[in-house]
Symmetry: C2
Subunit: 255 residues, 2 copies
């Protein structure tokens, strides 16, 4: 079994750049890059010693890797050559949507990517699924080139990881946003929170969030809770009240 | 001006342990330790080459540092010798409560402490306030022994930093808790989220939370938002819906 030695990349977002470059660095041939944004497609192609494909329906490669947003995947798949071997990188899109396709799978990295930041993929969980076992194993072997946290996960499991990721990344980030916005409004120094943000996560990596919880809601300190809620208005106030209530329930009622 | 060269520590929580040990390491004499939990008081005293004081009303030291929970501070202050020089470490307690005291101030570290984790205090913001300028300067000089992020902040400013800290620490930690609880319930591997949690914060330290935001709510991807909300129930569902709504408002209505 030769395995996958060449990949065509579809998409020019952060996932496309990170995976394309990572595969290229591991000796995989990036045969073609396709993207609606031609400037970015050329940039990625240059990075991977590849070239930009003019259209979808004549991509030829051991694997076509779709790194686009969720809502574009179905339409792209329908435009690819019928005998293509395909994978996509989405956390939320069920493989069931493509049950008529013989050779399609999922290659989902459980990480947030920014174009300008290098990520150590070696530690990033890569969740693999495919419509047939042969492709699943090929995708697993391919993933193993990049990471030591490769695992098979069906669509339901993958969706659940994705949902948990929304909590720890998207929602945590939004709390950081609200804190920054508040301090900016009050002409205070957002940078003062940086050591605390770092420690918040580092503490958990060595312990767990249940034991790491502190603060007025954990202590059910009603006086401080009331005072702090009154310092806020609008959505930040709603967020304050709901999360405080949820923490109080967690530690005082064991619901 | 001799400054503060000896400190009595009141309290045996994480702040007491971290500050007591840090001052001791910088050559400050920890003259006494007082705490309701006698075993912990002895542990801290041993750590700082100090001894355990039997009661509050005969503590003698250049400074009495109250490292207890917010609601204990007032009662402790009222029991101290009337001519004491006092500071407390709370973020939320206004100095105004103690306006009848000549020599009282605040020494607030903007950080979360765990007993078992060493913290590099050098980077931790220490917020200083006092009822008189002389004590404020003494506390500033004392703080400067430990950190290069020492700043004066009045009670209002300190309360605002504390509230922002609740968002980035207490609330973020609760999101991590909810994600872990969910994955545990679904028999999935919580450890898979660790690289993502780390990157979530590291990304922001080099950028800012507004630019770092990703996910279905940011993209206003209604299909995924609906599907994910349906995967949840109870408080986690309420949290999902409120935070998603708040993110949508942030990026789509610029409210």
């Amino acid at each position: 079994m030769k395995g996958i030695t060449s990949i065509a990349i579809i998409g020019t977002g952060n996932v496309a750049f990170h995976l394309g470059k990572a595969f290229f660095d591991k000796g995989i041939v990036i045969s073609e890059v396709y993207g609606r944004n031609k400037a970015l497609a050329h940039e990625l192609a240059n990075l991977c010693n590849s070239y930009v494909a003019p259209n979808l329906n004549d991509l030829r490669s051991d694997l076509i890797l779709i790194c686009t947003s969720d809502d574009a995947i179905e339409s792209i798949v329908s435009q690819l050559p019928i005998d293509s071997k395909i994978a996509y990188t989405s956390g939320a899109v069920s493989l069931e949507k493509f049950k008529d396709f013989k050779d399609i799978g999922v290659f989902y990295p459980l990480q947030t990517f920014s174009k300008e930041r290098a990520i150590n993929l070696f530690e990033v969980p890569l969740l693999i699924e495919a419509t047939n076992e042969f492709l699943a194993q090929e995708l697993f072997d391919l993933a193993w080139l990049l990471s030591r946290k490769v695992t098979f996960a069906n669509s339901e499991q993958r969706k659940k990881y994705h949902l948990a990721a929304v909590f720890v990344n998207n929602f945590a980030n939004h709390l950081f946003y609200q804190a920054k916005k508040y301090l900016d409004q009050e002409a205070l120094n957002w940078n003062y929170l940086q050591p605390l943000m770092k420690e918040t996560v580092e503490k958990i990596l060595l312990s767990n969030p249940e034991d790491a919880q502190t603060g007025p809601a954990k202590r059910n300190d009603l006086e401080t809770l009331k005072m702090q809620a009154e310092m806020l208005s609008g959505k930040p106030k709603e967020i304050y009240e709901l999360l405080s209530e949820s923490i109080i329930n967690t530690y005082n009622q064991h619901d």
